[in-house]
Amino acid sequence: MKYDVTVIGSGPGGYVAAIRCAQLGLKTAIIEKYNVLGGTCLNVGCIPSKALLDSSEHFHNAAHTFKTHGIDLENLQVNMQQMIKRKGEVVKSNNDGIAFLMKKNKIDTYYGLGSFVNKNTIKIAGIDGNEQQIETDKTIIATGSKPVALPFLPLDKKRIITSTEALTLTEVPKHMIVIGGGVIGLELGSVYARLGAKVTVVEYMDAIIPTMDRALGKELQRVLKKTLGFEFFFNHKVTGATNEGEIVKVTAENPKGETVTFEGDYVLVSVGRKPYTEGLGLENAGVQMGERGMITVNDHLETNVPGIYAIGDVVRGAMLAHKAEEEGVLVAEQIVGQKPHINYNLIPGVVYTWPEVAGVGYTEEQLKEQGRAYKAGSFPFKASGRAKASMDTDGFVKVLADENTDEILGVHMIGPRAADMIAEAVVAMEFRASAEDISRMSHAHPTYTEAMKEACLAATENRALHI
């Protein structure tokens, strides 16, 4: 078979790229290594973790806040099998959705390991054992990433687990030790803490979610500790973990250089992800690799081999599904000669704990490092009527604006529905709005988004209305 474009990988970057190519009239193929479409994000990442986060949040509220709302429940208990089953149904529903989109857009789907024979020929070792080759004019590599493994911390996938295994536990841990204070560890730690587990976070650096604005990590740490009983150990260097049957022992070195030990029944290793390119046969196509296993691309996401592109987690930048999606569209449109662009400073980062955390643009730390003159306005959800009504008063919205022009440079928020609210900030910044522009727009009352408006009023002239 001969194709205009072949996409390797069917995650958010890959399937979006394929759809856009098809929409643009290109004959398109997509290759997926597993027997379901959607990649990490859909199968063992974003979607299932959100499903469990939702379920566990409902349980937590039923157990802790419903009484205050005037709802009395008795004999409340977790049905772990059902919770996992529902998560599976959500995943399958999304799998089916993508399969439908492939069919609708007339994209040929191949299930198997795709690898380059040369820059225009791809061999597919099918799941069914058959092997075939396809010819393609252009190729988009969208093979995503997988969890980083530490040599001194071998995974047994039973009690020493990654996020993948953490999505299919059959019991609620008694004590889960989370290694790594990043997004994934905190999200999955939250799931099990809500269901009754004790959670301890061991972080090598001096803060959680260290890539986001520091104020967010500080507030999130405070809330997780207060609400869910998280324990945090910073500047600790984990040196090993051993499975001793019912117990796992984690050894670490504390800031004083002393060895400390943590005991739990599960250890979640979440110290980051790395690009996945094994078995691709990149050398056969002459594609160059960069540092840390990434594929080197230019501004147009083209590799050193003309006609071969790479997007998403295998290339530079944030490992976020929505960044991969934007890159998928960009490559597809460039292949047909269009000239789209991506503003990489405006890709929002989100943590789906509760309260949710979201940020876009420059952090306060970055602005200080740049020596840029800025002003900040902040508004706490304690002063939000809607937040009081829903008993979600933890958190704040912080707006950073240029001191002279009032242009919004960054927005960072932690609070109810922050993951959804951040979109307003992205739109504002894409159109280069000033903080006063946002503060002069009507925001529905009572909503959480009023906090965004108030923070902009505070940033503009220190004149928030409701505090």
Binding site: Q338, K339, H341, E407, F431, R432, A433, S434
Partner: protein, 523 residues
Amino acid sequence: MSLEVKVPAVGESITEVTIAKWLKNDGDRVEMDEVIAELESDKATFELPAEAAGILRIVAQEGDTIEVGGVICNIEQDGAAASAPAPVKEAAAPAQAASPVQQAAPATEVAGQAVEMKVPTVGESITEVTIANWLKKDGDFVQMDEVIAELESDKATFELPAEATGTLQIVAQQGDSVEIGGLLCIITPGATGNVQANAAANAKQEAATQQVAAQAAAAPSGAQTYASGTPSPAAGKILAERGINAADVQGTGRDGRITKEDAMGAQARPAAQPAAPAAKQEAAAPAATGERNSRREKMSNLRKTVARRLVQVKNETAMLTTFNEVDMKPIMDIRAKYKDKFKEKHEVGLGFMSFFTKAVTVALQEWPAVNAQIDGNEIVYNDFCDISIAVSAPKGLVVPVIRNAEQLSLDGIEKEVIRLAKKARENKLSIEEMTGGTFTITNGGVFGSMMSTPIINAPQSAILGMHNIVQRPVAINGQVEIRPMMYLALSYDHRIIDGRESVSFLVRVKELLEDPMRLLLGV
């Protein structure tokens, strides 16, 4: 309006003063700060200055004792015509009641003198200017120092400030050329005019103020901001695909942002259309081929002036040119040997210009006639060497001046050349920086010129032309050697510079350049 003048606080413990003497009469015109009365306290005598200019209305009489803060007199400020005599103060003593009431003399209106505004002197060689733009209309009210017009000369554009406050009467029209000292406009002062005119002026001022306020209020939606010209995401893609620079698009969005609609309507700069090949025809005699288009372009003021002045110089001077050649090897050897050290120490490159400028200043001091100028029936000899350097600038040739070049070292000259050339390229040279030279150096060699007859830069009397450096065979001590040779040309005004001076000058320059040690030793 009338201003009440009250007894000022004159001392900590003084509560009242006596009017010792009025120095002005009731109804007199007084100026701001003019002394109008002498006041006495129990400790000293004070002078009372007028607090405004206008007509004096005496309230307290000589000999009266007034409390601090009490009213002494009124001043009807300029512009307020006398409409009625001030009310006579009720007499306190019965004896005064019998006195007949004196009618106040009516105030005479004092009309201000109209101010004729003439073209100011704007540069040494500039004799006329063109009115590029009137910024005010005939009959407008203008304030002192307010910019009312833009004047254009062959060297620069100037702003013309109002020399008085009042009503503008335009005499010379936009586009007219007016000589230095010629009449541009008349300003009839309004500050001391009649109430009607002043009220009208004030009303106009008020309207202008309100207009400015209205514009300020509108600024948030119409002003240029950091976001002006920013294309929306869709507009950015459209512009990129059409090869249109966003800077060339007028944004209609908020604050000038470029909308998708703007981008779709934007036109790329028209590319040169390749001419369609003309259809060949069978003809007995083939017609001439090729384009026969031509176009007319109006000469700019600068170009017109250049044309006129160059012809004028040729017509008004006895211009001759004398030539010589220079063996550049000694200078090149020095540069090769020392340029790195020179650069390191002085942070400026060692070029040829510093050597030539230095040699020229030495020779000029030995042959002062070459550094002199004719002014009417007099010859002006200069004790200093202000060397003009011809620089090719975006707008054309400009000639900035290196002042007192005879005092500068080689590195000083190089730095000054760089500074002036940079300003020339940025069109930032002022008139002062381009006038007053006593001698000019021009270098046609940068364009490859081998030999030329440069034209004198009036009112100077001489100019040195540098040329390209060519490897040529020359006889050195009876042997043929290949040397880097440059021709030198000196054009001069024979009215005050004879062959003896010009040729000797040029030979001296040649000697100094061929033996740079003599520059150092001064011999």
